[in-house]
Symmetry: C2
Subunit: 349 residues, 2 copies
Amino acid sequence: MSQALESYIRWETDELVLLDQTLLPGEVKYIHLTDEHDVFEAIRALRVRGAPLIGVAAAYGLVLGMNRQNYATLDGFMTELKAKRDYLASARPTAVNLFWALDRMVDRVQMEARMMPEPSALKKALLDEALKIHQEDRETTFKIGEHGLSLLKDGYGVLTHCNTGKLATAGIGTAVAPIYLAKERGIHVKVFADETRPLLQGARLTAWELNDAGIDVTLITDSMAAVVLKQGWVNLVIVGADRIAQNGDTANKIGTYGLALLAHSHGIPFYVAAPRSTIDLQIKDGSGIVIEERGAHEVITCHGFEIAPKTVKVYNPAFDVTPHDLIAGIITEKGIVHPPYRENLQKIF
Amino acid sequence: MSQALESYIRWETDELVLLDQTLLPGEVKYIHLTDEHDVFEAIRALRVRGAPLIGVAAAYGLVLGMNRQNYATLDGFMTELKAKRDYLASARPTAVNLFWALDRMVDRVQMEARMMPEPSALKKALLDEALKIHQEDRETTFKIGEHGLSLLKDGYGVLTHCNTGKLATAGIGTAVAPIYLAKERGIHVKVFADETRPLLQGARLTAWELNDAGIDVTLITDSMAAVVLKQGWVNLVIVGADRIAQNGDTANKIGTYGLALLAHSHGIPFYVAAPRSTIDLQIKDGSGIVIEERGAHEVITCHGFEIAPKTVKVYNPAFDVTPHDLIAGIITEKGIVHPPYRENLQKIF
């Protein structure tokens, strides 16, 4: 596998090795996590981030935590497992993938314990499940990449927003997965990356990882997207998603909705790429998605410097909702879903 | 006059007093400039900025420079005047207003010298001309404010971009002039200020000066404008202009074009406010306006910190062009000009 497809997280016998994202883009440093406390700290301090990646890291954290000790009884093992599960789950209390992965690990042990109630066998099951979670996430991103790749041609320009890449998943990302595969297959794609204020995930992470993979990437401020589209440099826009409603309305990083409107104004197709787990068929439309508002300091300060008056009012929604009628297609691991979404999203479940 | 209408530059007997803009938004400090070197340094170091304000400061700089010495002959006076004119003109070699103001000062002296060739009289003429330039700029902004005010109603929301306020002119600005007058008249207007990446003039300057004047201002990142428009919080968008072509196409700070498209998508009127000196009837349309591209460091660093990889490619146009058909009206000191612009812009000259 070429360097372009290698991810920034790996399991090595009895340690989890991952890139410390808090040091990017200035410094590239891998950290070696050897127990559950290391993993807890890495998740809490955002050294590892991105919903799928947090889940994978936490699963390995449970493996590391349970491997450190020998257990005489099944009861002792189960008590300790649940304590460590709760501990790791508290590293980032709103990360859904974190709980999902940890609960899946505990479920697996409970199932195994009925057949083979030996702590040493259960430890093996834990590692097996963590590797599975990791592998499944990787495969999902490669499948999204393959489906998305069908939209790309040599010489195409693609504009993207926020970070949805190798730094956010255990594989090759979502919205940028097709770009990694294009690189692998020798198809030249020119990427424009929105810096994505206020937290600058596009500048710090997307620009860094695409550059690192040798992909042709140009960084722009969010306010430059309109001009880039007008110049005719972009054939399609692809973004990720935080939540997709039954009718295709999509919540994603703030700035996505405006970008979808600008793409529409210039007649450029706008795609969303996301795993099926992002689609919530319980939510009828975008009006049912609650948008988190975050603190003023994210907009007012930069590396501790005041870039706006401390006392000014700030409106800082973390996400926005793009209405389904601005979305040309939703790229999932099961294929590209086209409108009408209310009918077609159901078909992939 | 209420505090809201006071500007950040004033002439005091024999010194020029102005707010040091490089210290904003963290520190409010007025500096006292007493000779042409002080003024040169203030312009060069961007302590004073905004095209009209630079012109006013330079005119006073020439007054200060010539007042320091006594001249025995007219020849001696004229030689020194031209040397100091050239010196001040070199403070920012691309600022058109700087040359315009300095040349107007020299022209005035040359005219006076024909009637009254006495150095002491010419010094008085210089101060008189500087005060005139200052006063004319102030009046222009108040007239723009009055015309723009006719568009505002109590309770309105206005979105603006970049800095076009008291920190950019010797008066109350251009795009925000109507907002200052509304404040003065007790009409409540809620302002949303785009932070305006990459140089953050909206965050550092507009948010600061509106806050300072007690105006209701909310700071947003550029990427949040679409959501703010969608919420129905904005009744009109008003921006400034760097150059307006014969047909109304308008060059302004990067991000303006995208904002105009977003306003159009939401059915919200989009206005440009600018003095007539911004309108260039020699330029047929926007295609004739050359857009300056600036260095990557503006996008890559923030207060010296790397917010993106040092080696990444960056596209950093300083301006963009908004096509005339997205502009509801152009607010000038002679009134609001409506389409068709090719006909109607000529009428105000």
